[in-house]
Symmetry: none
Subunit: 194 residues, 4 copies
Amino acid sequence: MSKVEENKQLKLSRLMETAFSLFTTKGFAHTTISDIVREADMAKGTFYLYFHDKYELQERLIVWKAEELFRHVVSESGYESYDTPEDKVIAIINDILEQLQKNPRLLKFINKNLSWGVFRRAIDRSENDYMSFFKGILGLSDDQRAEILIYLIIECVSSTCHSVILEQNPVDLQTFRPYLDRLIRGILAPEIEK
Amino acid sequence: MSKVEENKQLKLSRLMETAFSLFTTKGFAHTTISDIVREADMAKGTFYLYFHDKYELQERLIVWKAEELFRHVVSESGYESYDTPEDKVIAIINDILEQLQKNPRLLKFINKNLSWGVFRRAIDRSENDYMSFFKGILGLSDDQRAEILIYLIIECVSSTCHSVILEQNPVDLQTFRPYLDRLIRGILAPEIEK
Amino acid sequence: MSKVEENKQLKLSRLMETAFSLFTTKGFAHTTISDIVREADMAKGTFYLYFHDKYELQERLIVWKAEELFRHVVSESGYESYDTPEDKVIAIINDILEQLQKNPRLLKFINKNLSWGVFRRAIDRSENDYMSFFKGILGLSDDQRAEILIYLIIECVSSTCHSVILEQNPVDLQTFRPYLDRLIRGILAPEIEK
Amino acid sequence: MSKVEENKQLKLSRLMETAFSLFTTKGFAHTTISDIVREADMAKGTFYLYFHDKYELQERLIVWKAEELFRHVVSESGYESYDTPEDKVIAIINDILEQLQKNPRLLKFINKNLSWGVFRRAIDRSENDYMSFFKGILGLSDDQRAEILIYLIIECVSSTCHSVILEQNPVDLQTFRPYLDRLIRGILAPEIEK
DNA sequence: GATGAATGAGCATTCATTCAT
DNA sequence: CATGAATGAATGCTCATTCAT
């Protein structure tokens, strides 16, 4: 990579890191572009060389951070050593919760920004086929059922863990975990005959 | 109530209804005080006779709408005719979902604004002791367990139903309901011995 | 008129006069709204209470100044005391040139802004039917011919007098006037048989 | 011309042609340097190797286009085959109008940019002595009278034909032409004895 | 010579808030 | 009590110009 190209990469990531930091402290709506470039120590115009506006920055931040999270899950969660889908999913969730607990800003950012719609877009855009990965883990061939289960897991885990991790409210994560495990097992329980 | 007092009440509720309508259509951030008073057919200054700023209005709106929702549940859900806590809770959730399906704006508003913290504040401020009401329904004496279960139910239901009702995504409410019922029953299942 | 209403009128005309002054010194394109309000000693926001943007201000300025010019012509040029259309028109033009010579800024403004299209719009919007007035003076029933002659007169006079009055270039107004008179008489000469 | 010199000439004319095209479509004020170099497929910095700023580019564009117009007149209008100055001038004007009608962009550009002052500068800078050329055609020895007549003709023709050719307003060129011819003959009519 | 990333002053516009009437 | 004209700080965004490579 040329020196110029290198410098551009540096500027880009400094902008994104700064924005991430500000979005998670002051909130997206209350973060101005002036704030970002001031913190990143750049000229205002430079921002517009890299992003069309604040919303594009947000979108790219989400994709980037989600990707990061998933990459860790795939390589570090150790889900392969478990046999049942339930145990695999719980291993994955434990890995994610661990990541989020270490990085509360990421949790805050994800919770504020990661609607199901955005999540799907991020997943679809990624080079890796995470959807198939998850379906494989669940061991399901029924596509609709698989998608609903993934949806349920993601929504329930992310919504409940937000205040638990960040505010220990209503209880702390350790106390909460058994409830969460049972929730997951409940979601994944075999379909009831109608 | 004096005529003057009456008039003030009228203005107040016109402001709140207008704001609710605008917040749920244009979004909180994109609704200006000018928008609200124009729609409510009042002078800009009048707004500041009733609210300190936009944020106070938002807060009071949340309390008001949550109260409305709960009142309906207590009087119209018919939860009393069921025997088990599971069935009672499901009856209550069905009532709420019905209300939200009829009033997607309310759903949007609640989902965007009703964090657990705000919810607790709203409940605590209310003249009615909703917390005891829910605990009674669950038939639990263990206060912590009761609060966790309520927390789980509220977070899971609200987070999953948002995109289902508003966008039929990933599936529509009818398809989703059996999954939701099983989720609730999973949450309420008797505690596993450790 | 109430005191408030009076004040508003005052602000409006101060804005318009200031803008007129700046447009004719720095030019329309190089005059910013900041310039205008700074000169008029007002807050920036005040501008937007009176005009949608710079272009609306320009449009209204044109209508206003054109109206002013015509009003003077009608009441002060003494065109009625002449018999032939030629002499009447020349009397009118003399009156206008006199006004413009006294007020070179107006000349500059008109010349930079008063295209035939804008002129027609200004005339059409006015409460007074100037078009009929001019046709009456020309003593013509043929509408097309009348409009062409008016067009010719306005374009030729305004385009030639601009640099003559403002820059005495290529000659000064006194030297130029006989040429102009003959130009007008040429334009108004009876139609040649084809 | 060396290969390098040739390349520079090519770049220069590509810049000028592109700018001309953009100025006449989007307008001078709304054309940015970025627009020009993007369209001309060059780097931004390159622009400043050829022009000091946008205004110098404009000035040089005017001179270039006026020169082009005159060159055509001299070689193609066939004015020599007429006897009287009137007929010669009308032949010249016809040639110019034909050029402008074929190239409305040029008309637009000239009309927006070609004040008498700029015109004189362009003529004076040119290698060809157009002023003498026109004087010769008019057959006049009185320098002042010649300059006034040229001034009158140029101003009247250019100002009246602009909206006629570009917008067929108030009438189209064919309808307008007899009026124009008579206007020219009026201007050139022998001086009235004072 | 040519490039294009970086700059930052400058612009139009918005809007919460105040306060004289 | 109610009004709405006035404010001006703040925001997103543009673009001519510079300069290291």
